[in-house]
């Protein structure tokens, strides 16, 4: 048997209160695309941080081509040929591509040489990129290319990619896969982290599945069904949300000709957005992150005010109303960012229940707070949505992401909204919690609520949406019926390949 490129043996890493990795062992062969599969919180990130030298294991060893490998810091890992593309990019918006890449280098060559090398690499691997463009103007897919090229310039033996497709349209995903295939054919190994099963089945040679920090199985993805992999990942049988066919009522939410300038320098302006949602309908809004999702939520929640006529609720112009007034009439929202936006991290769950619940749940009378009722409301959310916490007096930040998300969504759902707008309702949430959140959204729609679900998870949108539209650079595509939409069509609605080309293999 040949020596694997990288061999992990019994890696263990514990943080206070949680064992992130427990005796994890597996091998990555030369020229292999190896998938690391697992739910959020399964320990994938900790594991790759150990390989990349960001975190030191408590015990266990790593062998790189048979040699002991224990990088004390990322620089050491890089010099041994490990490169990593992070899920969140570390780029400076105000600098151009070449400058950004130079910043990450130990001894950057003169700018002209670097630019021509960037061109060379980008053409070889089908990642066209102008070295002199300002990063602030690039799309998410293009930014990812900057990160990939930054890695490729080091000529890596192992390229680690953390959830690379979460910021890409389906077309861009295909292009990325061509690039990765080319790298594989040249002998580069790739450790590919994802929880998207279909991708792994098309791309990867081998998969290791993590659950709660343990290696729970390996498989050849092409020979294993997505469902089997999912069940290994989750450890139980998956419940797919149920939806019943239903008729839609009158239009509840009507947005027309809405244009809003960007609230911050590198935010996204909304341009001439039209959308209507009927009672009982779920409108799914897809799109790559940073194309106006936060702004759209802000506009619908009342945090960003607009001309009154641009947004109508049951025919009433509400563009000028603030968040409290909108809650009063039944327009509720749940933003993406749990800590700091949807909830105050250091405040108790009771106080966080008050945050949006005060108006509709009658938790105040002439300004004075009814703490008993508020506590009951918090307990009701905790019970109804199976939020795992010792009690409502605990701080929001003490909850895991999934539990807090259930609380945040539950808080709005239990207020019986007429319109509910959610942004990334299951982001960073384990599969079981995600399924229960989706079910709650569908149940709400079945009772006649008009739902807008903004998400970057296309599978999620296809699962719950009746109609689908996509945001691209602040523009919303015309909504279409969700059933029968193909992945290609969705990709085109999301802006297609943003001018990217397939690698010339």
């Amino acid at each position: 048997m040949t020596t694997p490129l990288l061999s992990l043996q019994g890696l263990t890493k514990a943080y206070p209160g949680v064992v992130a990795n427990d005796q994890v062992s597996f091998d990555i062969g030369e020229g292999e695309v190896h998938a690391l599969l697992g739910e959020n919180g399964a320990g994938k990130s900790t594991l790759v941080k150990m390989i990349y030298g960001l975190v030191k294991p408590d015990s266990g060893t790593m062998l790189l081509r048979g040699q002991n490998f224990a990088p004390p810091e990322p620089r050491a890992a890089r010099s041994d040929g490990i490169a990593m593309v992070f899920q969140h990019f570390s780029l400076f918006d105000a600098l151009n591509v070449a400058e950004n890449i130079a910043l990450g280098m130990e001894n950057p060559p003169p700018m002209g040489d670097l630019a021509s090398r960037i061109r060379e690499v980008s053409e070889t691997y089908g990642l066209p990129l102008d070295p002199y463009r300002t990063v602030g103007d690039l799309s998410a897919g293009e930014r990812q290319r900057v990160e990939i090229i930054r890695c490729l310039l080091q000529d890596p033996k192992l390229l680690i990619m953390d959830e690379p497709t979460s910021v890409l349209t389906p077309q861009e995903v295909n292009i990325l896969f061509e690039t990765l295939n080319k790298l594989r054919s040249e002998g580069t190994s790739i450790l590919y982290i994802s929880h998207k099963l279909e991708e792994i089945r098309t791309l990867c040679d081998h998969a290791t599945i993590l659950r709660l920090g343990k290696n729970v199985g390996e498989c050849i993805p092409a020979e294993t069904s997505a469902r089997d992999m999912a069940e290994m990942m989750v450890g139980s049988t998956l419940q797919t949300p149920e939806r019943s066919g239903r008729d839609f009522g009158e239009v509840a939410l009507d947005v027309s000709g809405l244009s809003v300038p960007s609230p911050s320098e590198f935010g996204t302006a909304l341009r001439n957005v039209h959308l209507t949602v009927r009672k009982g309908e779920v409108l799914g809004i897809g799109g790559v992150a940073g194309n106006g999702q936060d702004e759209l939520l802000g506009v619908l929640s009342g945090e960003i005010q607009t001309p009154a006529d641009a947004i109508k609720f049951n025919g009433q112009a509400i563009g000028m109303l603030g968040p409290t007034a909108r809650r009063k009439i039944g327009v509720l929202t749940a933003p993406e960012e749990r800590l700091g936006h949807a909830a105050a991290p250091d405040m108790s769950l009771t106080e966080n229940a008050l945050l949006t619940g005060s108006v509709r749940e009658g938790l105040e009378s002439s300004g004075f707070l009814k703490w008993n009722e508020t506590k009951q409301f918090a307990e009701k959310i905790i019970d109804a949505f199976d939020v795992r916490t010792p009690g409502p007096e605990n701080a929001a930040r003490s909850l895991s992401g999934g539990n807090l998300q259930k609380f945040v969504i539950g808080r709005e759902v239990l207020q019986n909204p007429d319109v509910l707008v959610v942004n990334q309702p299951t982001w960073g949430v384990d599969a079981a919690a995600a399924a229960s959140i989706r079910q709650a959204i569908l149940d709400l729609a079945a009772k006649g609520t008009a739902v807008v679900c903004i998400s970057q998870d296309l599978d999620e949108l296809m699962e719950i949406s009746d109609s689908f539209a996509a945001l691209n650079e602040g523009r919303l595509s015309a909504p279409r019926e969700a059933t029968g939409l193909t992945v290609d069509e969705i990709g085109l609605m999301m802006g297609g390949a943003h001018g990217m080309e397939v690698a010339h293999v």
Partner: protein
Amino acid sequence: MIVLEKRPQPSKAWSYATPLVAVVATMVFGGLLFAILGKNPIEAIGTIFWEPLFGEFAFYYRPQLLVKGAPLVLIAIGLSLGFRAGIWNIGAEGQYIMGTIFGAGAGLAFYPMEAWFIFPIMIFAGAFGGWLWATIPAFLKVRFGTNEILVSLMLVYVAEQFLASVSLGLLKNPEGFGFPGSRNLQSYESAHNAELIAGSGMHWGVVAAFIAVIFSYVLLNRHMLGFHIRLTGEAPRAAKFAGVNPARLILFCLGLSGALAGLAGMFEVSGPSGVVSIDFNVGYGFTAIIVAFLGRLHPVGILLAGGLMALTYIGGEIAQSQLGLPAAAIQVFQGMLLFFLLAFDLLTNYRIRAARSEVA
């Protein structure tokens, strides 16, 4: 090696214990300081903390505690509301001065008329003066996004110039033989903020301070506005999502803290001090910042902290006169208190742990 580890949620026990630990640490290191200065540390600490309360002349010093503590508490309560919301009014000293000028000015305008309504008018004018002065940074912040820390602080020095000007001009006592300073309000009955019980130190300012404590407690714990104040301080974006109007909150918090500081100035000039003079202000507005933090921005805590601060003031004066400690040493001592408080504060959110053999 020792590492700091973030607690899953703030420790309640430590948030109550840190002020006490800070006081003890201040005593230890303050004692050390006094020892280096060649004084007996136990005697010095004893003089500062014991003498005013239980010493031979405690009958004189105890009322002084109320007199010194009341303005500190009154101002600190106002400041704490803003601090809770992340609105930093550093210029309470200036608002205190303006309250003094407006309050005393309103009273003196009626001189020598005697009427029951003069004192209420003065109260209103004093609060108005402080409110007006604090609304300047509030308005500039809301309208132009200026930094309220700088603007409110700068306005302290402007207010001091006003104080000098009126002491020498507008409010100068016509029967004062040319000396700067106003008529003595203590000898103008309708405008005199007299002790409510003779010899107790209890004047209307003390009453106002207690009312402010209760008001602030109810506001923060039982009222939507107080909840919004806390929410804004904890998570501004969540506050906006909850429907808080940041501009209105800024105007409210700065305005209220200014009004309370103005009241403190007005009660001081019409009572214990009596005279508007160039050196009228003695730093209550700045010390109140320490009081607010020492009291954990909590109304009851501020009440206790105000008492403690007043104690170190009075005890410090006694130590100066009896033991010959330099005034600067007393100020260092008071500064230590805030320093240790902020340092130990870390323990509410973090725990100290001996690290295992790892480099994370």
